[in-house]
Symmetry: C2
Subunit: 321 residues, 2 copies
């Protein structure tokens, strides 16, 4: 089995590739090859089978053509530009997040074998004028361009699946925390920074108050869910192949308590609270009360508590000093 991961150089793509390398199988078949496609050269991944990399832009149909071969069986479509970025570069967001997704779906259809197509959507598709909690059947009424483009991609994914062109499954990722590395252009970037930087001996800024609530999942559990959702039978997905990926709702206070529980009192003292209106404007529009019923029924899962998220960061990602 040959697997494509778009955005294979990104956080989730790299961790997913490493996990698949460790497993060696997916959907009951041995993995023969993984292709990591990204607009920047992805870091190499060790595996007992070939892992190739391919630099290309999903906004260009000709470059997408080379990412998917006749024998590509599973496509993980993770490439995207993130919320803060798509908000300031509107046309770039349309080109990558919406058109890129359409080009990949069209190419997957073209090979004629209805490959499994796992689509990383986002809880940023949810918001606006809808009641709490947000169910799998609540309107996507996003209040960002990123969320809009992801939601339009969900609709296309469902229709390509209904037509039998792909075996689609779309999962709305909660905010992945603790994310390793540097701050990025996601408006949610601080939600990892306030744990990660203090653990690495650095200061971090929190632009929202202690009672700000949000919906989180650890990278480790996100990857387990991406494996699981690829393995589900198409029939089990029903008439909407898109669903919220399970997460947990926490306040900033909960995050800091977990940081203290796992790492002692000292790191938390490096968090400074400071208003950042541009970030606040975006994240205040996000929702935190979700009922991920479909995903839970399919065997996807959340973390047990945010202490897990802190521990996984220390185990999996913290740079050695």
């Amino acid at each position: 089995m040959k697997i494509l991961i778009t955005g294979g150089g990104g956080l989730v793509g790299q961790k997913l590739a490493r996990r698949l390398a460790e497993r060696g199988t997916l959907r009951g078949a041995a993995i023969d090859e993984i292709v990591l496609a990204d607009i920047v050269e992805p870091a190499p991944v060790d595996a007992p089978f070939p892992v190739s990399t391919r630099v290309g832009n999903i906004a260009e149909p000709a470059e997408v053509a080379g990412m998917i071969d006749d024998d590509t069986t599973v496509i993980y479509h993770l490439a995207a530009i993130l919320s803060g970025h798509a908000e300031v570069e509107f046309d770039h967001g349309i080109a990558v997040n919406l058109m890129g997704t359409l080009h990949l779906l069209q190419r997957a259809r073209e090979i004629g074998t209805a490959p499994v197509f796992v689509y990383a959507s986002s809880i940023a598709t949810l918001g606006g004028e809808v009641p709490d909690p947000i169910e799998d059947w609540t309107a996507t009424n996003p209040q960002t361009s990123y969320g809009t483009q992801k939601a339009a991609g969900e609709l296309l994914l469902n229709d390509f699946s209904r037509k039998g062109f792909v075996q689609g499954r779309g999962v709305r990722l909660p905010t992945i925390s603790v994310r390793p590395g540097k701050p990025n252009r996601a408006a949610s970037s601080f939600m990892s920074s306030i744990i990660r930087e203090p653990l690495n001996g650095q200061e971090a800024i929190c632009p929202v108050g202690l009672d700000f609530q949000h919906y989180y999942l650890s990278p480790r559990m996100c990857v387990e869910n991406l494996v699981r959702v690829a393995e589900v039978e198409q029939e089990a997905l029903g008439m909407n192949v898109n669903m919220t990926m399970p997460g947990l709702t926490h306040t900033i206070g909960d995050l800091i308590d977990a940081l203290r529980d796992v790492a002692g009192p000292e790191p938390a003292q490096r968090i400074r609270f400071e208003s950042q209106p541009e970030i606040e404007k975006i994240v205040m529009g996000w929702r935190y009360a979700f009922n991920p019923a479909k995903a839970l029924a399919l065997g996807l899962a959340a973390d047990n508590s945010f202490r897990d998220n802190v521990r996984y960061y220390l185990e999996d990602d913290k740079p050695s000093p």
Copy 2:
């Protein structure tokens, strides 16, 4: 004020143009010009101001450029290929219904004056795994490619509005009946045929049973609603500019009763019941229980009973023998 109507040669476009010609004003300003754009030359419309026609394909950005001028104040975007058609010509549906809408939004943004952009969406966006009744905040989980493309257009419209590029308002039209003229490629075509053909002395085929329920609106009331929704203040639309246009739910039996009430017992005898699996497959996926709360609050309205629909057909559309 200059108004563009895409799909200006179609049923709703022609009736809307004639109604605007009769009114002479919109949003409190005198209408100076209407442009009817369509892929086939639209029939001329008499008015006390110039009504020009423009033949062009909304799937082509270069042709869309010529439809919208710097002084276009209101855009009615009605051009589309309909449900039955988009289901068999998948790529054509994407090109016209999805990309055409995106091209028009981009061109409207380009002129920089945030024109009013009224978008004819459809109740075909609604369906799938959602509870009844369908609220304005229920997921669009369409079970046709047409519905998918319209729903993706709604998302784009809302985002272009949120960004201040256009003053968007999307209305999900109920099935318009009694539709004049000939049967078309909409899967709902029979819902007008079974009234219209008998009134014109011809036989008609009904592919569903007497208790099949559906959601209807007369062309006359649809046009009144399209006028009204263009006049609403942007702020009143809230965080989702898309809404279900009010209609009434009727069984086929109700339609035939109304036909008998208005036109006597004879025409109804020309209806034959005959199964058509391809049509049934599509229309059985459609929903009929809607709560069009937002539109009602904004002053849009449904007919009083299906007798209105039959009467309007006789008054406005029946060809003289």
